[in-house]
Symmetry: D2
Subunit: 380 residues, 4 copies
């Protein structure tokens, strides 16, 4: 039923645009069962730059006007890789035009926009149009294996999660001012940028929504110098939260851009009553797994998650031949294409994206009230 090859347009050509382009270029080489795709058009505001990027990244064309692109008959999939403040507008228009939409996280910069997007996605789904949010770490094989092990009861009932996402690119107080540090443009600081990944993983791994949050925010370097001179930093450099899920799991969360020495340290420790799991994104191919705690040789196993029976791995290389960060986007694209072909709902959904934002909003609200616990807003 799906017309093949599916024409794809990516809106945005910088960091995320490069990563998504890579996924579309390679998806069929590793997942030959998915619908064929045609890298039709890469969209950006700088005509010369996007043209050059399109040429290198394998796109047939480039364009500067996303509005006309999403109307094109030869475009079936719109992949939104722009900054968060334009996600809602592009997505709503693309869904209205009947295009399948993949949106990079965050779903949008505000809960209100995200609610509108979810409503639009639900309406579109009734017409057979698919929508998905790009939390790419759901396609880290070690994390998918974690979810599977938890679901299989290998670590028993989960009680505590200790989570962090630590980077250090702002540790130097002389690092320059950028738009990412202005609240009006970036929406939020590290909480939205990295905290969103952490909260989505909690939801993904546990299948259990966060219902209450207590949080604190901190801007360690309150002013930085940019092209316009000295300027206030209006977003958080670091954030801390204690979260509680519907079933009573407690999760501690710490996110920072000031953790000198940590480059991309998304770390998760999940403690159940019969075992535990630990993960560090800097060691993306590994998972520490403890079960059978009563064995004389009990301990946390370092699992190299590169076996053919691990999630997505049969698509790639023989055991021990490790994957990189970008492979997660390729697997994400494959799963999205499969959902389109099979007429199923791709995961994570816009509802998942909205759920994350509501948790982040509760953390911010709590931080504004000296850390007092706040209930996360529920409902569709």
């Amino acid at each position: 039923m799906t017309r093949e090859p599916l024409g794809v347009a990516v809106i945005g050509y910088s960091f995320m645009g490069k990563a998504h382009s890579n996924a579309w270029r390679n998806v069929r080489a590793f997942y030959p069962g998915v619908p064929a795709v045609r890298q039709q058009v890469l969209v950006g505001r700088d005509e010369a730059a996007v043209k050059e990027a399109a040429s290198h990244y394998g796109w047939a064309e480039s364009a500067t006007d996303w509005r006309s692109v999403i109307e094109r008959d030869d475009v079936d999939v719109v992949d939104v890789c722009t900054p968060g403040d334009s996600h809602a507008e592009i997505t709503l228009a693309a869904l209205a035009a009947g295009k399948h939409v993949l949106v990079e996280k965050p779903l949008s910069n505000t809960v209100a926009e995200s609610e509108a997007m979810l409503a639009a996605a639900r309406e579109a789904e009734a017409r057979g149009v698919r929508a998905m949010i790009g939390f790419n770490y759901r396609r880290v094989p070690a994390l998918a294996l974690t979810r599977q092990l938890i679901a299989d009861g290998r670590i028993g009932a989960v009680r505590q999660v200790r989570a962090a996402y630590l980077q250090d690119w702002l540790a130097d107080a002389d690092a320059p001012m950028t738009w990412r540090l202005r609240k009006e443009q970036a929406g939020s600081g590290v909480l939205g940028d990295l905290g969103s990944h952490v909260v989505d993983q909690l939801h993904y791994l546990l299948g259990d929504p966060v219902v209450a949050a207590s949080g604190h925010l901190r801007t360690f370097v309150p002013e930085r110098t940019g092209p316009q001179g000295r300027e206030p930093v209006t977003v958080d450099d670091a954030a801390w939260a204690t979260l509680e899920t519907g079933s009573g799991v407690v999760a501690s969360v710490e996110v920072s851009r000031m953790a000198t020495g940590r480059k991309n340290g998304l770390t998760l420790e999940v403690y159940g009553d019969r075992g535990s799991v630990a993960f560090d994104l800097e060691r993306l191919n590994e998972l520490m797994v403890l079960d059978r705690p009563d064995d004389v040789a009990a301990g946390a196993r370092r699992v190299l998650v590169t076996e053919t029976d691990h999630p997505w791995l049969s698509a790639w290389w023989p055991p021990g031949h490790v994957l990189g960060w970008d492979h997660t986007f390729t697997s994400q694209a494959a799963d999205f294409l499969t959902a389109i072909a099979e007429g199923t709902s791709p995961q994570p959904s816009f509802a998942d994206g909205l759920a994350v934002q509501r948790v982040l909003a509760a953390i911010e609200q709590s931080a504004g009230d000296d850390g007092r616990r706040v209930a996360v807003r529920e409902g569709a």
Copy 2:
């Protein structure tokens, strides 16, 4: 001036009594410069049991009445290893009797008692009597090295600390009820037991008091079965806190007895603006140190803290010959004896012990108010 050998009495002969006995038995073998000691008397309530322990642990005598022991002329040092609820009474009496006193942590079970103990210690100090609290982890060479590296500016200005102390001996919901899980006897749960070590390390490493706290407590297994049948657990199984120091450092703390797979996992990560340090008590002889973050080969170094220029190490074995947990008590005893001999104030002091308790009290208070930030009580 010090009469040698100093006669020592240890009050208590179970876990801590065994560890402290080991320290007194060995201190001169490794620290020949300290005053000689005589293991005079081990005190306990069960006459037969304490007699047998005294025989094995190298004591000349055993006794059951601590009151008469602290009055003896041949006892110069009283080492209090009983449960926390008797610390104040024994310590006050021993100081009044002119004995030098070492008290196992916690200083006592209540802030009020600890305040009285601090007052007594100050009064005694004027008479040349020394008092010290036994936070033995201050004598972990790797942690003393951490303090030294921070003080030397090797990691720059500290901004964040991520700390935890995780054990798992209560992870099994069928583990039996004990007195440690009754608030009236134990005072508190994991917060007091393990959280106290964490807070003392913050103070020790940073030299910067915690001034505000936001916290949460949780009892995951609210009832357990003991000899008297099913009983409520009235202390916390796990605790979380976000702390702030006087100079603005933010420290996250997580402590638990339910973290399956962690046996004695006191972990500390200290992030400065030019480097970071990480420690795990399960790898007591190691320290991860990152400095010079701009080097092409920057990264966290695994330092094996067994070199002769590392704290206390020249007393022990050649490089690479690792120490164990119990060696910290021997070094602690050596430092206490040195302070007695030199007429200086041993560290950590009762004031340090009280400071820790006030932070823990603030965490508990905050937990009772849904996590709202609480100022830590200050002053002598």
Copy 3:
């Protein structure tokens, strides 16, 4: 001067053909400065299978006769990914036809063939035709950084190297017989397969040829069952060697397909008189580096080799976004294209490939003489 885009043909479409196809498909997306390439034709013996692979892997065409392909005017580069026994024939023909040639390791199955290939490559080079052997691990950023650190004197004068390459896919004695375990087809066992990578790394990292070898071979499972029933295994399952370089470095080498639990464990430890470096391919993005051994906080640093000033990394993702095994082939293709464009000699050369084979031959010869040391044959 180079005609662009360069037409590429890959001969072979299984494991290595897939990895090389991936490199050609992606090279310009990450290395926009290299000559443009056209994925012209993928060659294999099974017409239907190679056609399907070509379609998925991004090739314009497929073919079954490599001889006609290497004569085509629209083919400029021939990339030989067949088993080792056909490397010589294809390579000699392609060089004679004036095509640039990239050959997967090993250069060939015999020293004699490799000598002929080297002679042909030298003759072709005079005509501006480039030849390269595909030891892809030379493009692991951490290993290139190792070479650079050694060359910069960061670890002082090298004395010892401890190397291993351990896998476990034959650990199960019931694993089936395959052509790889027949000497007449495979040439050798683990020594040629994995030992070749180790020896090439020694040459690459040290810039110092192995001149003497002492070795031992072992076949732990002497018979296995295949489609034709029970059969003898005629190659080695594991090999050990003690090697000496021209400058007196001693390297120990252990390779095995029976090391249960090791999936792709190429480990290298290089000890100099002022430092050391350690690497494990299962943690491809990391390097352990020790220098300044007299520092109070000396120790092996875990360097996450993902910084923009690390080899090849500026082409890829931001710091902390790790690479996978396949990225090494893309960087290898980029370097090969750069050499073609710039008219320089790509590295590693056929001479490098021959040098490796001569060392392996010396190890085998020594193993046949009870381990007695053998001089490695020298000269062009």
Copy 4:
């Protein structure tokens, strides 16, 4: 039957004398079931120095003449901690005097002396006199657990062992000349010093004697400067061997005093057909264990060997409270005392010590013949 307390004399008071004194001082505190001991006399040549050491280490007396000491009626146990060249003389005399003898490794400096010692020990055993050699690493709990796991079949049939013992105290070419680097005094270099531990562990863990050896020796720094000026180094700085056991296991061994960054790196990797075990003495309390290789979450477990069901651990501290290097000597003393009390043969025996020396002799002989394999001499 055993007269208690047993009077102990230690001959030698430097590094090993200190470690053994520590064991005798503490053994009953942790192993209350063993016979009581009296630290009677510490023996050394320097009267003042040994007197001071005796005082610090808890000995009742000191002495300078070992001959008279071993004749004393109040001495029941003689513990030989002198350099290897006097082991035979002291041991033979002590056994003749009817004393139980513990000898630090190596048994002696020559195979001939060791053979005489074994004969004397066997003769003495008939009279109820016990003799033991002090390979203290047999009392590392993690290594004893390794032996147990292998014996229980947890890793299947062993095929390969990869072993090393790496230190770096001679890495600096300016490190001074010492008697340890003169063959006439030291007997051998690193091969005897560290290689002996490795070979004993092979025998201990596998229960399978080494029967053939191929080896190489190297002195990287052939001259050093000492108090007498520039002198040749006449022993090996590093050694390599490939060993084969009676049942066909192949073990590679590398030992060095030049491995910059390794302080006390005894590392052992044992590969069986169903699992593997890895150990590093610098992490004495840990063991990496892999079994059940077909599990979806297979991997090497980090076992913290501090549980009460681990070897010797019930004598010490609660789980997670790690031991140090010196605790192995205390457990060794306990086992020796138990054997005395129970009238059994303590392990490792003099036969075990001799077996190690014969393997080392075979390695040296092979090294003198360019690495050609040599059979290890057998028989009593």
